[in-house]
Symmetry: C2
Subunit: 253 residues, 2 copies
């Protein structure tokens, strides 16, 4: 049995609590948040606290808090030499106060308040400064049913950057398609199966192999017709830049 104390009450903290409480091998010792309001509905199943001086012993302290608070909260913890981890994709492990045994437990997924996430499908990126901490964190990830990866600080920061491309930027392309089709009274539902299939395809095939379309074929006629169709200058610039990028990847010019 592994005992964890959770700190924070944002989307990630909520999803982590749910994943912890569903595992027989994990016990949530205490749940801290500055304000008890947000976690009060859990007070019958877990000890909720709003003061750091009430924290007692646990195997791992998990800071599921905003990037900017990691420094401050980790310093304010009234103990030392215990395993304290943050969950951020971009903050260095060294932002944790060095009085602690430090680690990072970064679940690479997008979390939305009301959307259910199956944590078993979430990859956990683990960083630790010694072997024992790594093993403890891996045990925690395993107990959640997750696939875990040993990741360095540099790799984690690169993953965070890559995630911006495949999540935020991809989502913005969905948004642009939504705008373009809305302008012609087209139901966005028509595009949803294609969106899903495009994501499914690269689960088993490299993005390089999965590519199709006018840019890859260097189909100048279609590209020209598309550019004429686009009214928004920013959408046009994105079309041109990504077409150029695909052509370059696939050796067209």
């Amino acid at each position: 049995m592994i005992s964890v104390t959770l700190l924070g009450a944002g989307n990630l903290a909520m999803h982590l609590y749910k994943a912890f409480s569903e595992s027989d091998a994990i016990i949530v010792n205490q749940w801290y948040n500055r304000s008890l309001d947000k976690i009060s509905s859990y007070k019958n199943e877990v000890k909720t606290i709003d003061r750091l001086d009430k924290l007692n012993k646990a195997d791992i302290y998990i800071l599921a808090i905003s990037d900017d608070s990691i420094d401050e909260i980790s310093s304010a913890l009234p103990f030392d030499n215990r395993l304290v981890v943050h969950t951020s994709g971009s903050v260095s492990i060294h932002h944790l106060d060095k009085k602690h045994i430090r680690g990072v437990f970064y679940p690479l997924q997008t979390f939305t308040k009301d959307a259910d996430v199956n944590f078993k499908e979430v990859p956990i990126c683990i960083e630790a400064l010694d072997k024992n901490s790594y093993t403890t964190l891996k045990t925690l990830g395993d107990a959640m049913g997750c696939t875990t990866y040993k990741i360095s600080t540099e790799q984690r920061q690169t993953l965070h950057l890559s995630a911006v491309y495949v999540n935020n930027f991809v989502n913005q392309l969905y948004r642009i398609a939504h705008e373009i089709s809305d302008a012609k009274s087209i139901n966005f539902d028509i595009l949803k199966p294609l969106i899903l299939e495009t994501a499914r395809k690269v689960q088993t095939m490299s993005p390089y192999m999965a590519q199709t379309g006018p840019a890859k074929r260097n189909d100048k006629k279609t590209i020209k017709r598309h550019l004429k169709l686009i009214e928004n200058q920013e959408h046009k610039a994105i079309y041109e830049l990504l077409t150029k990028s695909i052509k370059k990847t696939h050796g067209q010019r």
Copy 2:
């Protein structure tokens, strides 16, 4: 029972044949291809032909051929006044020889040779010049278990353009993330669940509502750190342009 004659042997033709043959309400009358080789493995279940003068009567003739051949093949068909449709997202209905009753039957999905597609999840965009043809084509789509949409030429061309954003361009962002993570020896598998969840999210939520990340929050510190991390100038230009686009969409500056 609705009878169709299929022309062509590319990815789409293959998937269409499979979907037709799985429906009790559809009979594939003949399957034409310039070369019999590609469809010879089906000769025991369907009449395969390689000469247009062997075509006999069917309710619908479906041209699942390359965009550039639609003009020529539709003119070469040795009959008139029958329902002939093409399956292209970008070719005008008027490229079909006007001796035919003309239509478009455009399945909006990405088709790969070896990847199985559940046609019931494929939206079919139907265009016709008269009500009877529309009804016949809708009956065909319904018999395949598909959702069908009545779409004008202009709407279809806009859909084709939108599909480039959500398929080709999105896939190129996957490719860039693959390059960026490969360069730091990061397993691309770590990003796959995020890719899938990003696509799943917009099945029930608008892309506008689904957006998260540093650009939306206008988190200048993270954006700056990311830009420092990107070595490839083209990847950087894409990061900057899409960040600008997200900021604009979400009222940041």
